[in-house]
Symmetry: C2
Subunit: 84 residues, 2 copies
């Protein structure tokens, strides 16, 4: 078993209305925060026999399911073996 931590963010050229709304709210509360961008953080448990297999599986899952490659980027933060 492997545990993976990944981040999915909107590409920098894509507008982020959710982030803008949070930035506007923070500014209206007088916090000096000119910009906010929001993405997703995911922790997955994967069944794989070795790290290479886990990485390959994770890449496929990210590209096909978790991120929309047209407008999002993904980044693998961490991939660690977990005791079963």
């Amino acid at each position: 078993m492997f545990e993976a931590k990944i981040i999915v963010t909107l590409r920098s050229s894509i507008l982020d209305p959710q982030g803008s709304a949070v930035a506007t709210s923070l500014q209206s509360l007088s916090y000096p925060v000119p910009e906010v961008r929001i993405g997703k953080y995911m922790e997955l448990t994967l069944q794989a026999s070795d790290e290479q297999e886990a990485t390959a599986l994770l890449q496929i899952i990210c590209q096909k399911v978790l991120a929309n490659p047209v407008m999002e980027d993904y980044r693998i933060l961490q991939l660690t073996r977990k005791e079963e």
Copy 2:
């Protein structure tokens, strides 16, 4: 100016229906992923004169606005000075 990267996750004792839905979808596509938990990832630009002030401001914003401390935890991944 500082750039901060933070992660907000549901506490481990709190059910994550969004993560469960993603795990179920992945399993129905035959990916060996028994568990998924989903959180938020945020990149903030902060106006502060030094790192200490930026950290203090970020802690306040996370506790009061970005995370709900009753059911969420937050973690500061990175805090870096940015050229203006």
